[in-house]
């Protein structure tokens, strides 16, 4: 998996024994899901919120039941490690982006790969469905974003304006806009119909963008940059509204997510093995989830329940579910 690509400098987290006062929300560890044999790259809840999918460097995708924390099934077909996965809106399909330069569409119920999307010339690093789930967007180390027709498996379009690996792709809630982030430090907003880019966001000094995501209503985007910062941007005004700092993020593409609990939270992993939880409005850290023994690369918030899932790299290999 591609995250390994950056493991040239092995990072050992400084053990922060700093005691801090836990404010609300008080997330507690609920389950630890053990099963993957290599580093986990991504965890995603399905839109219904009852399943969790995890992808790993061990070329497998595992599906877990959320309420009981039980393992359900494994999807295997990729030749190399998987960097990202995404659910379709009806929770029936999964798409996975692999280092074998392909994407695969999986029928979760049947547990089989239905279509293989070929075209990228390097590791496929990120992928996402459109809200209607008839299009898949993918980003790759070949610096292109590709648009795929789910039905036919054909590549509809290739967007190549980034000058570095594409680290994240995501569409807004109605599918009219696409955001892509890249190591070149740019966040581009695309019109999904005309495939023209509309806007470009960048932070000062252009730190590499490791993750981007639209807010649930599509009016803001959350970007993670490799200068230990998360930024919340206003899409219309094109300006940075909030800045979330305190965690450590310099080498890995660490996922972040919105949590629609009250108060609204931002959740992200960190290279110090903790999972950080910020108050969206006040920018202050409201909780740090301790438990992983390696970098918490991926976090996800359950769309229905107050559950956070987090997954860690090679030395840990576990998924942890945190419940409020």
């Amino acid at each position: 998996m591609a995250t390994q690509y950056f493991k040239t400098v092995e990072h050992t987290s400084t053990n922060e024994k700093k005691s801090f006062k836990l404010k609300k929300p008080n997330y507690q560890l609920k389950f630890t899901l053990d099963g993957h044999t290599r580093a986990i790259s991504a965890v995603k809840f399905n839109p219904k919120g009852n399943w969790l999918a995890s992808s790993s460097d061990d070329k497998e995708i595992k599906i877990w039941e959320v309420y009981s924390g039980t393992y359900m099934k494994t999807l295997t077909d990729h030749n190399l490690g998987i960097s990202d996965i995404a659910w379709s809106s009806d929770s029936e399909l999964l798409v996975s982006a692999s280092d074998d330069k392909t994407l695969k569409i999986w029928n979760v119920g049947a547990g089989k790969c239905t279509t293989t999307l070929t075209g990228h010339t390097d590791f496929v690093f990120c992928c996402n469905f459109s809200p209607q789930s008839d299009i898949i967007y993918s980003g790759s180390f070949d610096e292109n974003v590709r648009i795929w027709n789910v039905k036919t498996g054909g590549c509809l379009r290739c967007l190549s304006t980034h000058s570095a690996p594409v680290t994240a792709v995501h569409t807004n809630q109605n599918g009219s806009l696409l955001v892509s982030g890249s190591y070149d430090g740019l966040c581009r907003i695309w019109d999904t119909v005309s495939c023209q880019y509309i806007k470009t966001f960048m932070s000062d000094n252009c730190p590499p963008v490791s993750f981007v995501k639209f807010s649930p209503n599509g009016e803001n985007i959350l970007t993670a940059t490799m200068d230990n910062t998360l930024n919340l941007w206003d899409l219309k005004k094109e300006k940075c509204l909030k800045k979330y700092i305190g965690h450590k993020n310099e080498k890995y593409c660490i996922f972040a997510d919105f949590s629609d609990t009250d108060p609204k939270l931002i959740v992200s992993g960190s290279e110090d093995n903790l999972v950080y939880v910020w108050n969206l409005e006040t920018e202050e850290i409201v909780q740090k989830l301790q438990g992983h023994t390696d970098i918490a690369i991926s976090t996800a918030c359950n769309p229905k329940l107050k559950i956070i899932a987090s997954a860690a790299l090679e030395k840990d290999k576990t998924i942890k579910l945190w419940e409020k």
């Binding site: 008839d134 509809l156 599918g175």
Partner: protein, 863 residues
């Protein structure tokens, strides 16, 4: 104009359009109207002390500028959850989606070999390109690329709330690219036909549907080229397939089709003639643009459209721009004059695009037209904006509507507002958001607001109709303050509106006494009635007889309907008197008569048609509706036996002279109340003589007989016509004006009415002078009616009415109408008084009925 009128217009327009779905389209941009509805005392926000004639600008789809307040923002919590509600599509979404997928549903028709299994989804890999030339490969790839991006657009748009509009935009784009590709090979017939056949054979069904969509769009734009392209395949598929395909490709689908077809625009009142001034010299080489043709057909929903084409002399060689412009103006002017001659009673509306708008404005300065509509006004010139002190456009008096695009290059809103302040004519402006000079909105606008050009066009058309309705019915705004019964209005629309529009012309005419030939000759009632009966405004008038045959009781249902609102207001009983002049006519066509009778029957349901027995007789109907006190109406002293209890005055040809004599005898009475006559006269002439509403008639005890009024009328007409040159153009309000009561909106209007009277008189000269000999001896001949008839100038009726011609043989060649309706209206309380106040001027419904101050003295003494 007064603000009162403005409010009324707002209200009526809101009432009229409130039901329309399209009104809701831009309703959030029309907050102004809502203010007016709730606070009718409010002045328009843009009310300008110097520009009372400029009505507030109406914005169509103009996105309001929102000011961002950065100070407040910090306090607002960031909302990352709530999805801003997207506006509901303004069209019938279900229907739009259904037409949108038309091609997908019928894609099978296009397939040449319907039995063979459709190509698989991954057809691209299976396309056998062996034997293809470079050109074929190139073309195929281009088309493929276009179709693929269309595919992507379809997928990306799927599920969007305004998907049909987005799809339409995508299809248009795809069609454009396909067209470009085909044009790149110069529509080489072999190549293009090969392409079509290959595509139909190889494309997967969804792609083929996209291709058909593109073809459908192009078919509307370049039908011959597409037909040529499809020729080869139609020979293969056979007739049925070809027919189905051609049906499918008949016209491009439109998301708003349901809304537009359900809300058809209604005809304008008064059946106006719409003249379209061309924006440049036309030639067979460069036909008018499709957009202009489209608008021409759109406008024909409002009224009869007459496009005016200007042809270049010598194929344009050696013709300068100035000459060309003069030529264009001349052509339009000539047409206006021609139409005035042929349809004197019809309101004329000039419409023009861009330069044509300018031509229309200039013509309106020279000739009398009812209204001007400028679509895309070229305000900006190389010398700066128009409206300099010496600009002839500033002299415009005709109500004018400017429709401009927000992004127009030839004008911008601020400069237009400045210009509008300067022109004295009553003017309105509509700004179409995001539109260009030709009022086409941009793709971005369509996308962001979920609009289509057809919706915008319809809204513009609604605005035009709204404005024109306001102009054509303006008189109504002056007359009644109470809201009228809508039902009654609907029933009597043709008649009522005809009266209204003519009455409205008054202020216009009065102020332009310079070119008498251009003036609109007044027409007596009959013409108007008949034209409203006749199906087409331009249909050549046939022999039409008013076999109005009702035995009238004291009140008539038909007339009551006609005057329903007045009845409701004054609660007076109508007195309906009719004078019928039967004329034997051998050329009467039964069918015609039956048809007409049917019409009349509907108007007078309860009255049996006794006249129907005499099928060989055409009659001139003179209907005098006196609308006075219920008690006094029937019991009014009848003069010369002409009116007895409201019975119709039926004067046969032989009796006509006698009747006329009797009538003339009444002139004495008339003389005692000159103002009444003049009121009547001016109104009769001004309002085209149909349904003349003259209130004082019934208030004069001595002249209650309608016929006497008629007679007096004719006299005063004659008298005035012989003395017109001496009439002051702007007569100061005379003795009668003291009677002008609060009901008259402003003194200015009274004055306008007076000058109007002058104007109309001037107009009648050509007709009246030929009768001067008759006029000198009115007693012996049926001049009263005759003159009234001839004066009307109902163009072609008389020529086809031999009987009538017989009667009017003294004035050979002059035309006569068949029906004259004079409506007399009075206030019940003043019926018996003869005081100056009691002459009824105060009760006049319309300001125009103010008396001419100077003419009474000029009335000839009664014989």
């Amino acid at each position: 104009m007064s603000h009162r009128g403005g409010e009324r217009d707002f209200q009526t327009s809101a009432r009229r359009m409130g039901t329309s779905l399209l009104f809701q389209l831009s309703v959030h941009e029309r907050e102004l109207d809502l203010v007016f509805l709730d606070h009718s005392y409010a002045k328009p926000w843009s009310a300008h002390p110097d520009a009372s004639s400029a009505r507030p600008t109406r914005m169509l789809f103009v996105t309001p500028r929102r000011h961002q307040d950065s100070t407040i923002e910090a306090d607002i919590p960031i909302d990352v959850e709530t999805v801003t509600s997207t506006p509901v599509p303004l069209y019938d979404n279900q229907k739009a989606r259904s037409v949108m997928n038309e091609c997908e549903r019928h894609v099978i028709f296009a397939r040449t070999d319907a039995d063979a299994p459709p190509p698989p989804e991954d057809w691209e890999e299976h396309v056998n390109r062996t034997g293809w030339t470079i050109a074929q490969n190139k073309l195929f790839n281009k088309i493929l690329k276009a179709l693929q991006s269309d595919r992507l657009a379809r997928l990306a748009n799927e599920g969007a709330c305004n998907e049909p509009v987005l799809r339409r935009i995508a299809v248009d784009k795809c069609a454009r690219r396909v067209r470009q590709a085909l044009a790149s090979v110069s529509w080489d017939i072999k190549l293009v036909q090969w392409l079509h056949t290959t595509l139909v054979e190889t494309l997967s069904l969804p792609m083929l549907a996209a291709y058909l969509d593109a073809l459908q769009t192009l078919k509307g734009k370049i039908p011959t080229l597409i037909d040529r392209m499809l020729m080869s395949s139609t020979t293969k598929t056979g007739a049925a397939g070809a027919e189905a395909l051609s049906l499918l490709l008949k016209r491009p689908w439109d998301p708003a089709v349901g809304v537009l077809s359900h809300n058809k625009p209604s005809k304008l009142p008064g059946s106006p003639l719409i003249l379209i001034a061309s924006s440049g010299p036309s030639s067979s080489m460069f036909p008018t643009s499709r957009r202009h043709r489209f608008w021409q057909s759109q406008l024909s929903c409002l009224g009869k459209v007459i496009p005016i084409a200007t042809h270049l002399l010598n194929n344009g060689s050696g013709v300068g721009v100035l000459q060309c412009l003069e030529h264009m103006i001349g052509a339009v002017r000539g047409k206006v004059l021609e139409i005035h001659n042929h349809f004197p009673h019809k309101p004329i509306i000039l419409i023009g695009w861009n330069t044509g708008a300018l031509v229309a404005c200039h013509v309106s300065v020279m000739e009398y037209v009812t209204a001007v509509v400028c679509l895309g006004f070229p305000l900006l010139t190389v010398d700066g904006p128009r409206g300099d002190v010496d600009d002839p456009l500033l002299d415009m008096k005709t109500p004018v509507l400017f429709v401009i695009g927000q992004n127009s290059l030839q004008c911008h809103t601020e400069a237009m507002e400045d210009f509008r302040e300067k022109i004295r004519a009553d003017n309105s402006m509509v700004v179409v958001g995001g539109a260009d000079d030709n009022l086409r909105i941009s793709k971005a606008k369509k996308k962001s607001e979920g609009l289509t050009q057809s919706m915008v066009d319809r809204c513009v058309q609604d605005e035009i109709a709204d404005f024109l309705t306001g102009v054509l019915t303006r008189a109504e705004g002056h007359s009644g303050s109470e809201p009228r019964d809508q039902d009654a209005e609907k029933k009597k629309k043709p008649r009522d509106s005809a009266r209204r529009d003519l009455a409205f012309e008054l202020p216009e005419r009065g102020s332009r006494p310079t070119s008498p030939a251009a003036k609109l000759p007044a027409s007596p009632s009959g013409s108007e009635d008949l034209s409203s009966v006749s199906s087409s405004p331009t249909s050549s008038p046939k022999t039409k007889m008013a076999t109005v045959t009702s035995v009238q009781k004291s009140s008539q249902i038909g007339t009551a309907q006609l005057l329903k609102r007045h009845v409701q207001r004054t609660e007076a009983v109508l007195t309906h008197k009719q004078a019928q002049v039967p004329i034997s006519s051998d050329q009467t066509e039964e069918a015609d008569k039956e048809d007409l009778r049917g019409q009349l029957k509907r108007q007078h349901p309860p009255s049996p048609p006794p006249g129907s027995k005499s099928s060989k007789r055409a009659k001139i109907k003179v209907t005098i509706v006196s609308h006075g006190d219920g008690a006094s109406g029937p019991s009014l002293p009848s003069q010369g036996g002409t009116t007895e209890g409201g019975k119709p005055i039926t004067v046969t040809r032989g009796q006509a002279a006698v009747g006329a004599k009797e009538l003339t005898g009444l002139l004495t009475t008339a003389n005692t109340a000159p103002s009444a006559f003049h009121t009547l006269q001016s109104r009769l002439v001004a309002s085209g003589g149909h349904c003349v509403a003259a209130s004082p008639g019934s208030t004069l005890p001595g002249s209650t007989s309608a016929s006497s009024l008629l007679q007096g009328l004719s006299f005063s007409l004659q008298d005035i016509s012989s003395k017109t040159p001496t009439l002051p153009a702007s007569a100061s309000p005379g003795p009668a004006t003291q009677a002008s009561s609060v009901k008259l909106p402003t003194p200015m209007q009274g004055l306008g009415a007076i000058t109007t009277g002058t104007g109309t008189i001037v107009r009648t000269i050509p007709v009246a002078t030929t009768l001067s000999s008759l006029g000198a001896t009115p007693g012996g001949k049926p001049t009263a009616i005759h003159q009234l008839l001839t004066n009307g100038g109902l163009a072609k009726l008389a020529s086809s009415l031999p009987g009538l011609a017989q009667i009017s043989n003294q004035a050979a060649g002059l035309k006569a109408p068949t029906t004259i309706t004079v409506t007399l209206r009075g206030q019940p309380s003043r019926v018996t008084t003869l005081s100056p106040m009691g002459t009824g001027a105060a009760s006049l419904e319309e300001s125009t009925s103010q008396a001419l101050p100077s003419t009474p003295q000029r009335l000839p003494p009664a014989p």
